[in-house]
Structures are given as C-alpha cells and as structure tokens.
C-alpha cells in the first residue's frame, strides 16, 4: 500500500506530445508507471513511448479507462485541461504546469471538490510511490520503497530531502509535491490525513516554505490527528519580507507566514524541525525511536 498512486494507477497524460509532456511520459513509462493514454487535440493516432494519443479526454477515457491524469499543457490551457479531466470522471488529477493565474484556479478548486475528485498542484512536481508508479517530474532513481511518507510544497527541495532519506536507509511509501501556488488542489492537511491512515506509512516528513499559513494549519491538524512520528524542514528563514521568492505563494506579508512562525507551530505540534535538509533523516529516526 501507499497513497494516491501505485500499481493500480492507470495514467493519462494531457499534453503528451508537447516537449515537456513527451519527455516526462517517456520517463514515467521507463520508471514502470502504467501510462495508458495521452491526449493532444489533433494528434490522435500518434504514440509517445508506445502510449496511444487521443484528441480528447472523453475518447481516451472511453477507450483506455484511466483513473489518474497528469497535465503538462501551457498555463493558459491548464484550467480547461483540469475541467476536461474531472468532467470526464478522472478521480485524481496532477497539474504540473506552473504560472496558472490564481483567479482561474478558484473555480477549478471548488469544481474538483464538488465532483468528488482530487487535484494535486498546479505548479508541483507530482508524486511517486517508489517501485510502483512515478506520476510527475521527479528523478525516480533517488527514491527507494519504504515506510516514510513525504509531503512538500517545494520541488527540488523535496529531491534533496528524499535523497538524504534514501542515503540514510529510509525508503519512502509515497512522496507528494503539493505545489507552491496560493491556490492548490491538495493541502498539507489532506496528505497528512492520508499518511496517518495509510498502514504502510510509519513516519512522515513535511517540507514547507515561507508564505501563506498552510504549515500553521497543518500544525493544528498534526496536534489533533497525527500520531505517527514526524520530522520537517521549512525553507526561507533568511528571506526578506514582502518579496516574492520564486513561488507565487512564498511571500511574507504583514508579519504572517514567516519561517519562524511555521517552525514554532510545527514544533509545538511535536514535529522535529531540522535547520538543514540533511538533518531531516536523523531527526526522523530520533522521532521514530522516541
């Protein structure tokens, strides 16, 4: 077991013939992910890495029955692609695309909820259940199957921590990059709840960045609902207030959303917060042995 993706995943790739889409579709197929179809309007009949391409999600769903979709289309088409996926009954949609206007995501977020589907992202690296399914853009080889669930708002920082975990002998059940935008489909709390309920996840790592208050909300949830050992890291302690640090979400404004506040909240909830990504595995082991 694991969460969200695994051997049962039947993946659809939206935007599969684009530069990003075709590259990552190939990578995912090579990793062993069960990629059943791709969609690019007008490219029906082509194949990418052996995967058949369709004009519409409707046809792809009818012919190949995917349960998960990953989106690599340009930002201005991404909301439409998400609507297309969930309107056609896809239960789990991962939107890799970055640069999607925030106001576009507001109705998308609520429609996805209303349909009973789940969206991860946008502007995220995707997620991976090592050894079963890679649904994203992360380098697969740094991951090892194991018992640590990882959830992160950052991309490369996640790889950094995963790499450290793997090197420390701590494999992962599932690693989820939820994305750094102000409006994302799946929050820390959503993933923490899944890990808490997943029998194959024994410990949890959470990686946050400055801006917003998702980490604080997560801390409240952890205090009340998470019993598994946890370690974490928050990036951006040295970031100056009011400036956007790459992520649209990573702005500290009005004294809220600072790394200090997030770290304090998480520590108060029993999470061991490292001052460097390299120290996460050690703190997690401490928590697991405590």
């Amino acid at each position: 077991m694991s969460i969200l993706v695994g051997n049962d995943t039947r993946l659809l790739v939206q935007g599969i013939t684009g530069r990003e889409g075709s590259f990552h579709a190939t990578q995912m197929v090579e990793y062993g992910t069960n990629v059943v179809a791709g969609v690019t309007p007008g490219k029906k009949g082509e194949t990418v890495a052996g995967v058949p391409v369709f004009d519409t999600v409707e046809e792809a769903v009818r012919k190949t029955n995917p349960n998960t979709s990953i989106i690599y289309v340009p930002a201005r088409f991404a909301p439409d692609a998400i609507y297309e996926a969930v309107d056609n009954g896809i239960e789990l949609v991962i939107c890799i695309t970055e640069g999607v206007p925030v106001n576009d995501m507001v109705p998308v977020y609520h429609l996805v909820k209303q349909k009973g589907a789940r969206l991860i992202g946008p502007n995220c690296p995707g997620l991976i259940t090592p050894g079963e399914a890679k649904v994203g853009i992360m380098p697969g080889f740094i991951h090892e199957p194991g018992k640590v669930g990882l959830v992160s708002r950052s991309g490369t920082l996640t790889y950094e921590v995963v790499d450290a975990l793997t090197k420390a002998g701590l494999g992962q059940s599932t690693a989820v990059g939820i994305g750094g935008d102000p409006v994302i489909g799946t929050s820390f709390v959503d993933v923490l709840e899944l890990f808490q309920n997943d029998p194959d996840t024994e410990a949890i790592v959470m990686i946050g960045v400055i801006g917003g208050d998702d980490e604080e909300t997560a801390a409240t949830f952890i205090k009340e609902h998470v019993t598994k050992p946890m370690a974490g890291f928050i990036a951006g302690r040295t970031a100056p207030p009011g400036k956007r640090m790459g992520h649209a979400g990573a702005i500290i404004s009005g004294g809220s959303g600072s790394a200090e506040e997030k770290i304090a909240a998480l520590e108060a909830a029993g999470v061991r917060v490292a001052d460097s990504p390299s120290k996460v595995p050690g703190l997690l082991r401490q928590a697991m042995n405590a």
């Binding site: 201005r76 853009i137 950094e160 750094g180």
Partner: protein
Amino acid sequence: MDVHEYQAAELLAKHGVPVNPGRVASTPDEAAAAASELGGTVAIKAQVHSGGRGKAGGIKLAHNPEEAKAAAEAILGMDIRGHTVNKVLVAKGADIVREFYLGVVLDRPNRKVLIMASAEGGVDIEEVARTTPEKIVRINADPALGFHSYQAKELGFALGLRADKVHGFAKIAEHLYTAFIKEDATLVEVNPLILTGAGEWLALDSKMSFDDNALYRHKDIEGLRDMAEENETELDARSSGISFVKLDGDIGCIVNGAGLAMATMDAVKLSGGEPANFLDVGGGASASQVAKAFSLVTSDPNVRAILINIFGGITRGDVVADGIREALSQVDVKVPIVVRLSGTNAEEGKKILAEAGLMAVDTMDEAAEQVVSAASGQAA
C-alpha cells in the same frame, strides 16, 4: 505587479467606482497648475509602490496653487522606504464625514475571493486586523457564481450603515469585486472609502496589485508598469525565466528550484555567511541560462564568492556542468566559486567541472561552509 494610486483609481473608475478627481504631476509647476484647475484645497500625494506614505510625509494638503507647488517640491524626489517619488497625485480635497475600508483579496485558506470591509477606514487595516479583528467584516464570494448582490448588502448592513447608504456602498463593493476578477487582480483596496458631507460615497485612495501570471491577457495593465519602480536586474532576470531577488549579503547564490534556493540561503546563513541574492535558474539550466545567472550575480559588487547548488533531477548534472563551463568561458568571474552537484549524472558532471578547474562538493551544508570561508578570504 503593482500600480500607482492614480492608475488604480482610473481602473476602478472604469468599473463604476466613484473616485476622487485628480491630476498627476511630475514637477512642482504641474502640481500648481493641477491645483489651480481643480480649485480649492487639494491633497498632494506621493505616487510610489510603498505603504506608509503619510507617516513619511508623502501626503500634504495645499490650500492654493502656491502651497501645492511647495508641497510637490517637498515630496518629489523624496525617498519613501527605498522608493524615490517621481510623481505626485494632486487630488481634490474631500469633505470627509466617515471613513471606511473596503478591499478584495484572495482568501488562501478557503480558496475563495474575500471581500472585506471595516468602519475603521483611513488607518492601517493590517493593524486593525491584528488588534481588533472583530471590526473587519468578511464575506467570501461564491467561487463559481461570484459575489452576489445580497452579499454586498449584507456587508453594508454588517458595518451598521443606515439603510439609505447601503445601496451605494453595496454597488461599490460589487464593482471592486468585478474589477478584481476582470482585471485579474491579487488585491483591490479602497482606503479610505468615504461618506462626504453631501452623503455621497467617494473612493479617496485606491490600490491594486495584479497577478503576473495573468498579465498575458491584460496588455493594458502591463502598460501601466512603472519602470522606475522596478528593480532592473530583477526584470532582466525575469525575461530569461530566472527568479532573482537582490539581498544585502556577499555570497552570490545560483540554485535550481525556488525551495532549494531558499534552503541554500538558509544554509549560507547557518554557516555564518550572508546571501547576496535569491536566484532560481528554473528547470532548464542551459548554458545560456547559467551564463545569465553568473552575470546577474557578478553584477553585484558586494559579491565575494558564489555558491552554485544544483540538484540534478530532470536537469542532468553533466548538462549543468557543461553549462557552467561554457558560461565561465563567456563571463569573467573574479570571485571564488563553490559548486555543489547532486542527483542525476552528478558524477559525470563533477568530472566535467574538474576538467574546467572547478571542484564540486556533495552536500549543501559542505558547500555552504566552503563558500562562506571563501568569501572571508580563506581557501575555497
């Protein structure tokens, strides 16, 4: 993207908001002419992308054109929180009876647009939010159907407005919401929104910020960008797909990924150094991208050493190393460079760097320590 008060007011006027008449002036003489055209008492207001104008002396009243000229003379050229004042807004004096706050923002926790109002207008709303949050009324627009008229009225009644004032207030709230959505704003704010002695509503100070990701469909708003307010280096970086923020330290940072870039800055600090910048080269990290990053970092005279931190994911380590090697042949870098390379094809990358005379280390902590040492003049 931010715009000036006068630009925000013009945009809001288009959406039906009653705004205070005014003229923009770049010189004291223009300000005097504007004051004489408007007549009576005017306010001379610094136009800068910064709050705290009032406290900094950036807003003055003038009772005649001479006073307006003097006020503009005092304000033009003023530095407000690091922003130089190049323009002033000469606004007609208003007969303020009551001041309100009215704003539209994204409510992140609820993933909805939030319309906020307060009868405590004209003051710092974040201060009100901290000290007396009960004085701010908040209503979420429906995420699919928008901000309903009944909600706008609810807002007015919740402020304790008299029934005959609710309608006008509600209309303005609806217009602000429409402006927020149609213009892809991230913030629309009127503070203060006033009731005049004649019982009219008037937006006395308007503020709008816009979603950079949506500017592609708002060429007109892109055209409002005040280049004098922008950091040239940051704009230059953005045009190459690089996120760059200038900081005060002496350790230049070149990193792939925003989160990792922040973590790298934190590591530098933890090792006793001070980062000179935040820099995310983005996903590609091609030679030209890396070269651009080098030139951005080295253009800062404070930089005494550079830390390159790349976690090869999709970006392969050997490609990045090639990029660094090529970039170094194009850009003359005079300060020590510490490279940390990990992930995909890291070993191949290190080999390439070694051939180019650069040593690469394995961990971020190690790299941070070395670069801090290098910056303080010790061996890298």
